[in-house]
Amino acid sequence: MNNRYFRTSFILAYLLFFMLNRHYMLYSYNPENEKLTQFAVLLDRAVKGEASYVSVVNDVIHQTHQFAAGEKTLYDINRDLTNIILLLSEADKDYFEHLADNPEKYDQQTYQRVLSLITPNQTTTV
């Protein structure tokens, strides 16, 4: 499923590259999707055991947990990650709320689960 997802989104992203500089566009897009696509890449690398991406991924998941659990509000979550935290939280608030407080406890199963939440959110259409 992931391979298919990445293949499709790669081709769409490539088309996007050409279309963005024109006055009309072949298909719709939105920046949230692009950020999610980029985050999905990090998650995929983390699932595959790439340690260098784990801390970034853990930070996003942990902040989403803090927001879902009410420990942080719209006003004090990381400004760079605001939209992605809200999107993840909306996708499955209950899941993030009950995640461990300690990010070191997040593992490949966590990353796989978050990745599966993101995939249906990709709404780019040709």
Binding site: F10, Q38, D80
Partner: protein, 387 residues
């Protein structure tokens, strides 16, 4: 198939780089940034794309996108192309909201008239920086703030007051201001206080429809009508802190004082009412929410940040001696005042023996604003060297 597409993408970048690699910038920070792009391109060139899996290909896609996008703006921000004085003044405003010296304003010159816009793809895609650091051990000390403006009016300081509005887009995205206002306005609609509702409906008339409110509550999107309108009002407010109502003059003309909102922008009439209420120190719930939320997030109070000066220098064809940074913003207000005023004053004060045409006055005002800023920059740089 996919590695071949990536090869194609990289070949395009290499072709672009053949000319871009010789770019010469007046700003050392851009030279440092440029060298980092060179390191990334060198790293990409050493890779075997055929051996990469799907997500690794995507990483490279975004890295190439990043380098291309950077060059798109850096190519128009060289010593010979950048509207240097305008960018200098915008950076003064930027530093008030982002004091760390970690952003560089770059411009891309567009062909179309009135094609002013902000592009956040290099400032607000944090994960691309993670890819680059991980893959090529390159970390950027500076991010680019990308502003598009028409090439034909790149040195028109009257029209370019709208660039403060574009800078506002950077600020509202950096602090996720629109996202918070969006949530607070929808919460206020649910509270259903009649005074609050009346004021919300004035600026966002479509929120009278419960189905619309449901739709906006169900899913936030950066490009939905409500979020775009919130963002446009914020940027107008942001700009008016520096140039008061100057952008209203231009906006009113180029939009033909549009009475109906579009999916992307509120009606011009409402935008002008919003700004005038702020400038006249009036305003209801919506304006006070904007002020409250901006201050809570940024710690900065919305208020006039320029400085006016009373002078008749421009009428006498003399640049203004700018003494402090805040006066730089006041130059635009002064320039507009002269443009909208009696041109006969210039002819009399400067003792000109012939009638001034609109083109003469246009050139005079633009040259004098540019010289006033330029003189300040030279003086300021000289003071820094002396220290």
């Amino acid at each position: 198939m996919q590695p071949k597409l990536l090869e194609l993408h990289f070949s395009q970048l290499q072709t672009e780089w053949v000319t871009s690699k010789y770019n010469n910038y007046s700003d050392d920070r851009k030279n440092i940034y440029h060298e980092k792009l060179a390191t990334i391109i060198e790293g990409l060139g050493k890779e075997d794309f055929a051996s990469l899996d799907d997500s690794q290909i995507q990483e490279r896609y975004w890295v190439i996108f990043f380098v291309f996008k950077s060059l798109e703006f850096l190519n128009h921000s060289t010593r010979s192309t950048i509207p240097f004085e305008m960018v200098y003044v915008l950076e003064v405003a930027l530093k008030e909201w982002s004091p760390g010296d970690d952003y560089i304003i770059v411009t891309s010159l567009t062909n179309g008239m009135n094609e002013f816009s902000f592009d956040g793809s290099l400032s607000f895609y944090p994960f691309i920086y993670t890819y680059i650091e991980n893959l090529y051990s390159v970390s950027f000390d500076y991010k680019l703030v990308q502003i598009n403006l028409p090439e034909s009016t790149s040195r028109d300081y009257l029209a370019n007051v709208v660039l403060y509005h574009e800078l506002g887009h950077f600020i509202e995205k950096k602090f996720a201001i629109t996202r918070v206002i969006y949530a607070e306005l929808l919460a206020a609609i649910r509270r259903a206080d009649p005074a609050e509702l009346n004021n919300i409906y004035r600026y966002f008339p479509y929120l009278r429809l419960p189905a619309k409110v449901d739709e906006f509550e169900k899913r936030y999107e950066e490009y939905n009508q409500l979020s775009m309108h919130i963002s446009e009002y914020f940027c107008d407010l942001f700009a008016s802190q520096y140039i008061k109502d100057c952008s209203n003059f231009y906006l009113e003309y180029v939009t033909l004082n549009q009475a109906v909102e579009s999916t992307t922008h509120p009606s011009t009439i409402n935008r002008i009412i919003f700004i005038n209420e702020y400038l006249d120190n009036k305003g209801g719930f919506v304006l006070s929410e904007y002020k409250r939320i901006v201050e809570r997030i940024t710690g900065i109070e919305i208020g006039y940040k320029g400085k006016d000066f009373s002078t008749a220098n421009f009428e006498s064809l003399i640049p203004v001696e700018v003494k402090e940074l805040s006066e730089l913003h006041g130059l635009f207000h002064y320039g507009w005042k002269v443009w909208l005023g009696e041109w006969e004053n210039i002819r009399q004060k400067a003792e000109i023996q012939f009638t001034l045409s609109n083109a003469d006055v246009y050139a005079i005002i633009n040259n004098l604003i540019e010289k006033s800023i330029g003189n300040f920059i030279v003086k300021n740089e000289w003071e820094l060297i002396k220290v």
